[in-house]
């Protein structure tokens, strides 16, 4: 038995080495994680036939809540924010340039390229970080990361990329490290309540936690920014991360900290091949 295991391991190693002259070695490793992750949810929610449905968050598994959600998505309150975001996006900076000058394809239909691992700076580049980098490189002050203008800009950019699929790469060792860091964050217990992200969004999801059903973790990154009924406004993914951490009484990290960016990287990789569905409405 032990021999067999060793043989298998050896074969896998050989296979990996031969198949990829190392460049997509990390993609392969992550792909195995994705497969396990999907199997977990497939077993948990056998009624969800296609993992793509998880782009709708908790509404993929809660039929009653889904009806109300669809009704609100019919003319969602974030539409006004998309308009605001478009205006901001098109308004020139003091130097005459616009956001379009900082992004591929003028910033349109590119949401699914974020987050990505920037091999020049060896860090996870999120859309919101890229927006502020664009501002500062054009002599403008950076925006706050949780809500308001940055959420509106992000909402507009997401709205132009709907139904594009996430295709996140893990280009090098540093990227894989960032991925592992995010993964570790996700499965680590935190706060006075001693809960990991995975406790609520994998183990408990589908059943009630107090009065609420926590959403399945798969697809978490697809719908942001979101207009939460609880907030009464649009907010970014990192604002939500902060809220989640506070809910378990763990001191939150700063929006766009390395911790949250790595977590976003991990979560987006777990949402690989899923549609961009942001902005969207959540309770």
């Amino acid at each position: 038995m032990k021999r067999l295991t060793i043989l298998c391991a050896a074969l896998t190693t050989v296979f990996t080495a031969v198949a990829n002259a190392s460049s997509d070695k990390y993609d392969k490793k992550v792909a195995q994680d994705i497969a396990k992750y999907r199997t977990f949810f497939a077993n948990k929610f056998p009624n969800v036939k296609n993992f793509g449905e998880y782009k709708d968050g908790v509404y993929a598994i809660d039929a009653k809540a889904r009806e109300q959600w669809i009704e609100i998505e019919d003319f969602p309150p974030y539409e006004l924010s998309i308009d605001e975001g478009k205006e901001l996006f098109e308004k020139p900076f003091a130097n005459g340039k616009t956001y379009a000058s900082c992004f591929k394809n003028g910033g349109i239909n590119i949401r699914h390229n974020y987050p990505h691992f920037d091999t020049k700076t060896n860090q996870v580049m999120t859309l919101e970080l890229a927006i502020n980098n664009c501002r500062t490189s054009n002599g403008e002050k950076p925006l706050g990361y949780k809500k308001g203008k940055i959420a509106a800009l992000s909402a507009y950019m997401a709205s132009t990329s709907r139904e594009q699929k996430f295709n996140v790469k893990v280009p090098n060792e540093a990227a894989y490290k960032a991925y592992l860091d995010g993964k570790k964050f996700f499965y680590s217990k935190r706060g006075q309540l001693n809960l990991a992200c995975s406790d609520c969004h994998m183990a408990i999801t589908g059943s009630k936690l107090r009065a609420d059903i926590p959403g399945p973790a798969i697809g978490h990154a697809t719908g942001f920014p979101v207009y939460r009924s609880k907030w009464g406004e649009l907010g970014t993914l990192h604002r939500r991360y902060g809220g989640c951490n506070k809910n378990v009484r763990a001191k939150p990290f700063k929006a766009q900290s390395a911790e949250y960016r790595n977590l976003e990287y991990f979560q987006t990789l777990m949402s690989q091949d899923m549609d961009i569905n942001g902005p969207s409405v959540r309770k």
Binding site: I72, D74, F75, E79, L80
Partner: protein, 100 residues
């Protein structure tokens, strides 16, 4: 006040959807210092079609933030429908849409 209207006709019936950007303060909420935020909400919404009012609504503070209302009337594609809103501080907003 920002008002957005979408209208679509099918079989002679126009479905018009209205979204208004408004805080809809109830007058019962307190700010961070514990001071009550005065009531500030939309009170009236009026829709006009071919020079006549075809629908109107009165809102109290019990209507959700960023109010949404969907109403229907007999009309046809290509025509205009205009919607105006007023709040209890006398601020107004107006928007027009071509029926699709």
């Amino acid at each position: 006040m920002k008002v957005k209207v979408k209208a679509k006709e099918k079989d002679g019936v126009v479905k018009a959807k209205v979204l208004i950007k408004h805080a809809m303060e109830t007058g019962r909420r307190k700010d961070k210092k514990g001071v009550i935020i005065p009531a500030h909400h939309v009170t009236e919404v009026k829709a006009e079609y071919k020079g006549a009012t075809i629908f109107s609504a009165e809102f109290g503070a019990g209507v959700s933030k960023d109010p949404f209302v969907k109403f229907q009337f007999k009309g046809k594609a290509g025509d205009q429908v205009s919607v105006s809103a007023t709040d209890n501080k006398g601020q107004t907003g107006k928007s027009e849409a071509t029926i699709k």
